[in-house]
């Protein structure tokens, strides 16, 4: 026990002495939390919208006014013909445009129905889908107005059936993205820092030769490993704490669940990451190799964690792969606990998997750490 303390003390001294690293460990992640949480939004706003109005009638102008009135659209330009509009889309200056054909008003009055061209830049498929919904809604509302006018004139029309769907958004009535993203990004940052630092740590001593000096001492390998990793565990917990405070103060992120539960879970979770870091350290000879491997896994963990894109929509095999993604568990749990107030029983199935993961990972890491070659 005393021996472990000596190692812990030494590690802390080395960490705090490295002036170049301190801001990277403590300031960079928190800065990113504060800034980048604002970036992660699927909400579609400020749609750059153009139109071609070949009809130039009162109906077509009214329709355009509907778009001008909407907060989602920035109606930027009226194009003389479709050619110019399409070119503007190619340049990327507009995201969508409406093509109102000649005789639009006349045909609508005559045939009671008339098509209208809607063109959407669909490279970002999901955004295009949303834009399409907005446009359709505006046009349908406009249709209703015309219909409403008509019903006043004659009562002969039968009242249509109507099914109203009433959306109720639980836990986040205002659909605030930051509430959703802040906890998730906090998880990422805690994970990245602890994985990179622990992954580099032992291989660094290997590279500079001090590890050999340690290996000829009678120190027990479990003591050595605990002593080396504990400081990073503390750093991880510390980052989580500061991150949670920032989340509350800056983003007013709710904390509906039990804070103790979150900490208890995190304490196990960080063990998974540290075990992983140690495992990487054991199988590499240089820091460079260790970092490439850590980088490889962290990119996969981040993009397949359900943080930015939904796991449900992935193909089955990919969903199975995510079972091995520790970040996925933590992201889900931190959101459940903070935003929904889920309790121990609710998170138990996920937490038990994390615990098993921690045990397996650390056993592997300790087993593969060899004092002899």
């Amino acid at each position: 026990m005393k021996i472990i303390l000596y190692i812990i003390k030494k590690e802390f001294k080395q960490i705090f002495r490295n002036k170049g690293m301190l801001p990277i460990i403590f300031i960079l992640p928190l800065l990113q939390l504060v800034i980048l949480s604002n970036a992660a939004t699927y909400e579609i706003k400020n749609i750059q919208f153009g139109y071609v109005d070949a009809d130039n009638s009162s109906t077509s102008r009214e329709l355009i006014e509907q778009f001008e009135a909407s907060t989602y659209f920035n109606v930027s330009e009226k194009f003389p013909s479709e050619k110019e509009a399409s070119q503007a889309m190619q340049e990327g200056t507009i995201d969508a445009y409406l093509n109102i054909p000649t005789h639009f008003e006349r045909d609508l009055q005559k045939d009671k129905t008339k098509g209208i061209g809607v063109f959407i830049d669909a490279i970002d498929g999901s955004a295009a889908g949303v834009i399409n919904v907005y446009i359709t809604q505006i046009i349908q509302n406009y249709n209703k107005n015309i219909v409403a006018d008509l019903i006043q004139i004659s009562d002969t029309v039968q009242k249509p059936n109507s099914i109203e769907s009433i959306p109720l958004f639980w836990y986040n009535q205002t659909l605030n993205y930051k509430t959703f993203m802040v906890p998730g990004i906090l998880v990422l940052l805690v994970t990245m820092i602890t994985l990179f630092l622990s992954g580099m740590n032992i291989v660094r001593e290997k590279e500079i030769g001090t590890l050999e000096q340690i290996n000829v001492t009678p120190i027990r390998k479990s003591h050595f490993i605990i002593g080396k990793l504990f400081p990073f565990w503390i750093i991880g917990m510390g980052l989580l704490t500061i991150g949670l405070i920032l989340a509350k103060v800056i983003f007013n992120t709710p904390m509906l669940g039990n804070l103790g539960l979150l900490y208890a879970y995190t304490s196990v979770y960080i063990l998974v990451i540290l075990g992983m870091g140690l495992f990487i350290s054991n199988f590499t000879d240089t820091q460079q190799q260790a970092m490439f491997i850590a980088w490889f896994f962290i990119v996969i963990f981040i993009l397949m964690s359900g943080l930015f894109t939904p796991i449900e929509s992935m193909p089955k095999w990919a969903q199975i792969l995510t079972e091995f993604n520790p970040i996925k568990y933590f992201v889900e749990i931190i959101r459940m606990v903070m935003l929904k107030g889920s309790g121990f029983v609710d998170i138990f199935p996920l937490a038990i998997k994390t615990l098993a993961y921690a045990i397996v990972m650390n056993s592997l890491a300790v087993w593969s750490y060899k004092k002899t070659t």
Partner: protein, 368 residues
């Protein structure tokens, strides 16, 4: 010049001798692009939902059948009372609950008006609003079928055309992004580490006192990585074309030139990082911690930049990846020529010069 060639050759030997790193350098980007190309999508499919049917009549059954048939949803639970909603949300078992009011069908027949509540777990706002949009459109369709024989006058019918990506494939969006992130991080990381490594081991001094100019030393160190990154870029483009069927509507040659430019930008950034870090550890942490999330989040890779708050839109301009993503999407999907991406190209070029300029200045200061 001969000396320089010799030096570059030495660098190549270094890299090719370390088989493990080489494997990592080439294997990882391929593994990642394959994985992400197939797996990542921001479509919303197969969402688990529950039904609370208090009416249990013909109309509600018909609607439930329609929802069950949709690829967007899978009904995993039928619940009996409202009080269970909270617990299934808290367990995270379902993302939405569809609640039919009492006498749903009767109301529809008698009053011509009936209500369905769509309760969503809105911790994920995107998921929640998309789910309620999908459900409301399923309901609208059902409503239209009921109203088939009632004519509604004056209809403007939007005929939407999804330009550049008719089938709304996520892969069109993500392949250029993944390619950019991989090239950026691998290039910046490789150079910053390999230069600081020489610094740390003291071999940099030896190189700097050699007759080679500092500038040549740096170019010599970076040159092999340009070569490696270009190979990576070629492999990624081939995979996107042949595995993911992403079209290259524009000029492949232009795409190549732009890729080389972006690789050089990333390498220059790596050099800059190496000038400000004393140890490999610092260099790695800067290139990983400092670049990874901003490159993923502020480049338009996943989240549209135009929807971000204004300050972030401004910040996004200093992310080289943003400009390269615009270029790649433009050339591959929109099929545009150099004329349309001139601005983006110039910005990348300027960034590269800036990175190199600052690095050279920093090195000079150190040498004095």
């Amino acid at each position: 010049m001969k000396r320089f060639v010799g030096f570059v050759r030495k660098e190549f030997y270094h890299i090719f001798r370390d088989k493990r790193s080489l494997f990592i350098l080439f294997g990882m980007p391929i593994a990642q692009i394959l994985l992400f190309g197939f797996a990542i999508t921001n479509e919303i499919n197969n969402v688990d939902i529950a039904i609370l049917d208090q009416a249990n009549d013909v109309a509600s059954k018909e609607i439930i059948n329609k929802i069950a048939a949709s690829k967007h949803f899978s009904i995993v639970d039928i619940i009996q009372q409202e009080s269970s909603i909270e617990s299934i949300f808290k367990k995270g078992k379902v993302k939405a609950v569809l609640q039919f009011e009492n006498n749903f069908g009767n109301n529809l027949i008698k009053e011509k008006q009936a209500n369905v509540q769509v309760l969503t777990d809105a911790t994920d706002p995107n998921m929640a609003s998309t789910i309620s949009n999908y459900i409301s459109s399923i309901l609208k369709k059902y409503q239209q079928e009921l109203n088939e024989n009632i004519s509604i006058d004056y209809q403007i019918i939007p005929q939407s055309r999804m330009v550049y990506n008719a089938e709304l494939k996520s892969v069109y969006m993500f392949v250029p992004g993944v390619m950019t992130v991989i090239l950026m991080l691998v290039s910046a990381m490789m150079t910053s580490i390999s230069i600081t490594r020489e610094k740390e081991q003291g071999t940099m001094e030896i190189l700097l006192v050699s007759p080679l100019k500092p500038f040549q030393v740096i170019i010599g160190k970076v040159f092999p990585y340009i070569f490696l990154s270009v190979i990576n870029a070629v492999v990624i483009v081939l995979l996107s074309i042949f595995v993911f069927n992403v079209p290259v509507n524009g000029s492949l040659f232009l795409l190549g030139i732009e890729s080389v430019l972006f690789i050089i930008t990333s390498l220059a950034l790596g050099i800059l990082i190496s000038t400000i870090s004393a140890t490999q550890q610092t260099a790695m942490m800067i290139s990983l911690m400092g670049l990874m999330l901003p490159t993923i989040l502020l480049s338009g890779f996943i989240f549209p930049i135009s929807s971000m708050p204004l300050p972030l839109q401004v910040i996004s301009n200093i992310i080289p990846a943003k400009w390269f993503i615009i270029i790649v999407k433009g050339i591959m999907l929109k099929g545009i020529g150099i004329g349309f991406v001139l601005k983006e190209t110039l910005i990348l070029l300027l960034m590269t010069l800036l990175f190199i300029g600052v690095s050279v200045k920093k090195y000079k200061i150190r040498l004095e």
